[in-house]
Structure formats: C-alpha cells, structure tokens
C-alpha cells in the first residue's frame, strides 16, 4: 500500500491531486481502519495522486462543536486550517461524513476554503470515468440496504453517489422504511458516540438496525465509520451478526473491483 504524506510529497516538490483526510475513526478505530485501507487500495488501483497528513492531522473538532464546546472546536479548526493551508492540493476527500461536513461547511468562515468531497462521491466519479472497474460476481443480485449518514444525506443532500455505487456492483438495493431526507439517525451524531444514551425505551441504533433487518438485506451498506459501529453493535444486539454484515461502500467497491 502506497500512502505518502503531504510532508514527504512536498519535500520532493510534489503536490498531490487529492488530500485524503483520514479522520480519527479511520486512523484509530479497528473496524474503521479496514475501511481506510480499502479506500486507499482503490485510490492506488485508480492511480490517483493523493497524500495524507499523517501525524499532522488532528480531530476536525466536530464532536466538540456539537457537544457545545465551540472553543475547543475552533482551536482544532484554526490549527487544522493552518496545516492545510501550508500545502497544495486540489481536493480533500474524506471517508467520514462528519469530517466532510465540518471541513466543507464550517471551515470556510474560519479561513479554510477547500473543495471537499465524500469518498462515495469520488468513487462514483472514478467508476463513471472507468478509472475503477468492477466485476459483477461478488454482489450481483445481493440484497443491500443503504443507511444514509445524517451528515452526508440530510445535511449535505448527497443521496445519489452511494446508491450509484451499489447499483454499479449490480446489487439489489432495498431501501429502509425511512431513508434519504427522512433517514433515521444511527444514534452516534452530536457526540452521542462518546456517551451513554439518555433514558428511553430503546437504543436508537437498535431501532435503526431493526429497520435494516426488516429489508431482508444481507448487507447494510454504510458511509460513515460511526454509523458502521452503531449498526454493527445493533446487529450483535439482535443476534443477527451471522446473517447480516455491515460494510462500508468503499469495502463493497473494493471487493468488487478488478486490478
């Protein structure tokens, strides 16, 4: 796997096309690291010139901001923007919708103006222009349901790219009861990921997982490392982890891709 850092690239006088913002989950969470790798493999296959910030990357501040700690968020944002502004690249791509939303929508007024896309958008483009080719066998006719991440779908109105990708591997997309603009949250956003839920009669991730199971899909496609965790936990709770798997769209595309 070839993963250059921006620092290395710039020392060699190179500017990558794309800066891959890995995100904290993608860097540290065991499950999410696999997604990161799948995505990088795809970037390598498609011969994309990209780089990561590596140890120069730091939390975007999203969980702090949404927990109400605007101060900590802005400290993170301002120093990230300083790092980002010291390099040249054309686009930022991220596998996390929270990083995507924050850098795209909230960094500009702090001085960080970038062209930011979500990895499903990039992959959709790469498949469309033939840079990534997929075979039909692995997922053909398989029932897959897609869980819209709140910060990709509702917040940024990207519903198509991930669905195009599911279509491109010839899978049978089964929509859940609530999807797209009305997609039910997995329960992780707004810093809920890091705390226990308030008292209620059900956990949000379980409710969402049940909706996914109800579609009879064998795969729940996710586009966010946090949704991935929440839904995987939901499947365990429902004792369905043998029958149903949660895969990131990048993993699906990677499994179907040909060299």
């Amino acid at each position: 796997m070839n993963v250059p850092t921006l620092k290395e690239l710039s020392q060699n006088g190179l500017d990558p096309e794309i800066l891959f913002w890995v995100g904290c989950a993608g860097s540290f969470d065991e499950r999410a690291k696999k997604i990161t790798k799948s995505f990088v493999k795809l970037l390598n296959k498609a011969n994309i010139s990209f780089g990561v910030l590596g140890i120069e990357e730091s939390c975007t501040g999203d969980p702090a901001k949404r927990a109400g700690n605007e101060f900590l968020y802005q400290m993170q944002a301002v120093s990230n923007i300083e790092t980002l502004n010291s390099y040249n690249f054309k686009k930022i791509v991220t596998t996390c919708p929270h990083c995507f939303n924050t850098i795209k929508n909230e960094y500009p007024s702090l001085g960080g103006n970038y062209d930011v896309i979500h990895h499903t958008q990039l992959l959709d483009d790469l498949i469309k222009n033939g840079k990534i080719k997929v075979q039909n066998e692995s997922f053909k006719g398989k029932k897959i349901t897609f869980h819209d991440p709140c910060y990709l779908g509702r917040a940024n109105k990207e519903f198509k790219a991930p669905r195009n990708l599911i279509d491109s591997v010839k899978a049978d997309l089964k929509e859940m009861k609530s999807c797209k603009e009305k997609g039910l949250c997995c329960g992780a956003g707004g810093a809920q990921m890091f705390k226990d839920a308030e008292k209620g009669n059900e956990e949000i991730n379980i409710k969402r997982t049940k909706e996914a199971i109800d579609t009879n899909a064998k795969i729940i496609a996710a586009g966010c490392p946090f949704c991935n965790t929440m839904l995987s936990d939901g499947l365990k709770n429902q004792k369905a982890e043998q029958k149903v798997k949660v895969l990131d769209i990048a993993e699906i595309v990677e499994q179907a891709s040909i060299d």
Partner: protein, 439 residues
C-alpha cells in the same frame, strides 16, 4: 337605530383591530429581546422560499392527504375573508350586500365560490378533528400537548367550524328573506349553491324570526372573526401570520453548517497568535459576550420568531430519533418551552416596565439538561419542519452554555473533549500513532 348599529359596529371593529395591533407590537418587542443575526441577504431567494413554503405550503404536501386538506382550509380561509371587505363596509354603513349592484354577474360567482369553499373547510375541519380526537394520531396525543395546546388545537377547529356554519346560515336566511316581506332590504343578489339546501329549514318560521336569525348570524359571524383574529396571539394558530416572516428569514445555508461563534473566534485568534503576550492587559473594552444560551435573551431574534411561529404539528418530534426511542427530548417541546418562557419574560416587562430578574431561566426551569444531551444533531427536526423552524440551533446554543459557561457536560463527554485537547482525537490514542493503520 341605523346610526346606533353603525356606531356599535365601528366600536367593536376598531377595538378588535386595536387590541390586535397592541398584541402584534408586543410580539415584535418580545422577538427583539433576542440577539442580532443578519438575515437581510439574498432577498430574492428568501422571497421565493416564502412563496414556496408559506404560500405554496410545499413541505406540507410531504403528507399528501392532510397536506391537501390543510391547503384547502388555508386557501379557503384566505379567500373567504375577501367577503369581509363587503361585510365591514356593510357594517359601517348599515347596508346590506353593498357591493352586489356594482359587481353584477361576478357577484353571483363570488358568493357561489365562497360557499363551496366554506363547505370544503367544514369537511376538512371535521377530518382534522377526527384525526386528533378519534384516530389519535401519535404526534397529536403525546405528553407535550397535554393541557392548553390540545385544547387550543380543538378550539381552533371549533371556531373555524362555527364561523363557516354561521356564514352558510347567514346566506340561507338571506336567501329566504329575499322572497319575504323584507325583500326590499334583502334584494335578490348572489347565488348560493350550498345554503340553498339549508334555506328550506326556515320555511315554517315567520319572516320576523328569520330576520332575527339572519341578523344574529351576521353579527356573530363578524364578531367571531374579530374574536378569532385576537385569539391568534394566544394560540399556535399565530402561524397563519408568522409562517410568512419565518420562512422568509429562515436559514438559507446547508443545514449541516453550524455557525462559528464569533465571540469565541476572537479569543481563539488571540490565544493562537504567537505574538500575543498572555500577560498583556486586554485592550478591548467590550464586555465579554456570554457563550451560548441559558435564557431567551441569549437566543437570536430568529429563534424567538420560531418560538412564536411553531404550529405544534409535531412533525419534528415524530422524526426525531431520540423522541422515537422514548427519550424525553422532543424538538417541538424545545420550541414550545421557548415560547412559554418568552411570554413569561414579556409579561414581566409589561408589569415592571423592564425585565426584573425572576430567578428563572429557560435552562433547567423550562428545558432540562437531560433533554438537551439526548440530541444527536441529526437535523431530522429541521428538515421536517414545514415552515423553516430550527429547533437544533436552540439545543446547540444551550449546550454551548452548559459546556463553556457551566462546565456541566456529562463526564464521558468531558473525557472525549480532554482527549481532543491533549492528543487530537476523541479517544486516548497517541497522536504519533495516527498513521499506524497503514502497517
């Protein structure tokens, strides 16, 4: 007699309008308690949004059946009120159907059109009542509607029903009187496709009785309308007016974008500035702005306008993941409590001339921390509101207060924030291990 009637009408009409204006001013004053926020940009797009959402009710049609009925009631109500022009002129001049001679055949069309609208309103209102009281649709029976909100919702339906019935009865008796001994006053004007079926009810009554019934209906109808106008202020029905400014001023940016607090930005800039002398005396004389919101004073005027505009329809709460899974958070309640507190503050100002501390706050006294911490910031509430209300922004502003002013976040969140502060990730991993995934 005729002078007395005109004077009486004038008195009622002018008092009703004055009281309405008086309350409108109060609403305006209360909304202006809020902090400033600039919503004067993109006038064209704002205007278009208002047409689409408030006038065209485009989001209401997400639920096609009720959306359609709501549209019927709304359009009918607006159009029927055109009839008020004539009623008011009649009232002042003590005349009857004063405009009829000038409009000729068009007058017949109008009367017929209004009657059909009235019938449609009656049908819709009955359906709404059944949905609320017999079918008990979930979003109409939840706890946050107990008490006044539930009563209010039904009162609105009853008032609309009674007004429409009075309107039709007024026409039915009018039609009767047009061929009675009073026909020189009740001249043969108008075409009444609905009330012509009611008119026969009066065939066994004396002309005088019907005359009384007609007059009573006429007066009750106009007094009812003026009453309804003044009822708005005390009711969720205020949305029929405020939906317009609310959609006009609503957020035009991506709903994922949360504002970057400028007061914080200034501090962050200074802290990160390498030339900054941490021991220097602050050279700004500006008072340090409070971070976040603990009371209505700390919210912006648009959020306060939201509070007055909310229709209490509960679309937001029925889409809310926290609410759907039994947490006490309900975005509708957040908005309703904000209005309750704002009203309380308004009354305090009415009484004392200015706000005198009453020892209460929006936070804790109206909205609990438990509610605020249950939100996933998923934006489902914002997306589902048909008139551009943003409950999430209030939740986040109150979280900001709890975290930055009170340091009262749940321990787990404090741990998460400490991690971000110390090692740049919400978990306790070493920043230097960030690239280890590639091995």
């Amino acid at each position: 007699m005729s002078i007395f009637s005109s004077v009486f009408f004038g008195f009622i009409f002018i008092s009703a309008i004055s009281f309405f204006v008086f309350n409108c001013k109060k609403i305006l004053r209360n909304i202006n308690i809020g902090r400033g926020i600039n919503r004067s940009d993109n006038k064209k797009q704002r205007f278009f949004n208002m047409l689409r959402l408030a006038f065209g009710q485009s989001k209401m049609l997400d639920k096609p059946f009720v959306g359609f009925l709501h549209l019927v009631v709304y359009v009918a109500f607006v159009l029927i009120n055109i009839e008020l022009i004539e009623i008011v002129i009649d009232g002042f001049l003590n005349k009857h159907r004063v405009l009829a001679p000038y409009l000729g055949g068009f007058y017949n069309f109008l009367t017929a059109f209004f009657e059909i609208l009235a019938l449609l309103v009656i049908i819709s209102v009955v359906v709404f009542w059944v949905r609320r009281n017999i079918l008990k649709i979930k979003r109409f029976i939840s706890n946050d509607l107990k008490g006044w909100p539930k009563t209010d919702a039904n009162y609105i339906l009853y008032i609309e029903l009674v007004l429409m019935l009075l309107f039709l009865n007024m026409n039915a008796t009018d039609l009767y009187l047009q061929s009675s001994s009073y026909s020189d006053y009740y001249q043969s004007y108008g075409y009444f496709p609905v009330s012509q079926f009611l008119s026969p009810i009066y065939s066994s009554f004396s002309d005088l009785t019907v005359l009384y019934v007609e007059r009573i209906s006429w007066w009750s109808h106009i007094i009812g309308i003026l009453f309804f106008l003044n009822y708005l202020y005390y009711s969720k029905h205020l949305h029929i007016l405020l939906a317009f400014p609310n959609t006009y001023f609503s957020n035009l940016e991506s709903i994922g974008k949360m504002d970057n607090l400028s007061s914080v930005y200034n501090e962050v800039k200074t802290m990160l500035d390498p030339n900054n002398d941490p021991y220097a005396v602050s050279n700004s004389n500006l008072p340090i702005e409070k971070f976040g919101a603990s009371d209505v004073f700390d919210l912006n005027w648009f959020q306060l306008l939201n509070a007055y505009t909310c229709t209490e329809c509960g679309r937001c709460s029925s889409e809310c993941p926290a609410n759907q899974t039994g947490k006490i958070l309900s975005p509708r309640t957040i908005i309703m409590k904000t209005r309750d507190r704002l009203e309380e503050v308004g009354k305090n100002i009415d009484k004392n001339g200015k706000f005198i501390d009453d020892g209460k706050k929006l936070l804790d006294d109206y909205i609990s921390k438990e509610e605020l911490w249950a939100c996933t910031t998923c934006n489902a509430c914002v997306e589902s509101c048909p008139i551009g209300i943003d409950p999430l922004s209030i939740i986040v502003d109150m979280r900001r207060y709890m975290v930055m002013e009170q340091s009262s976040a749940p321990t787990e969140l404090n741990n998460m924030m400490n991690n971000i502060e110390n090692n740049g990730a919400p978990w306790p991993f070493n920043q230097l291990d960030r690239l280890n995934w590639k091995n």
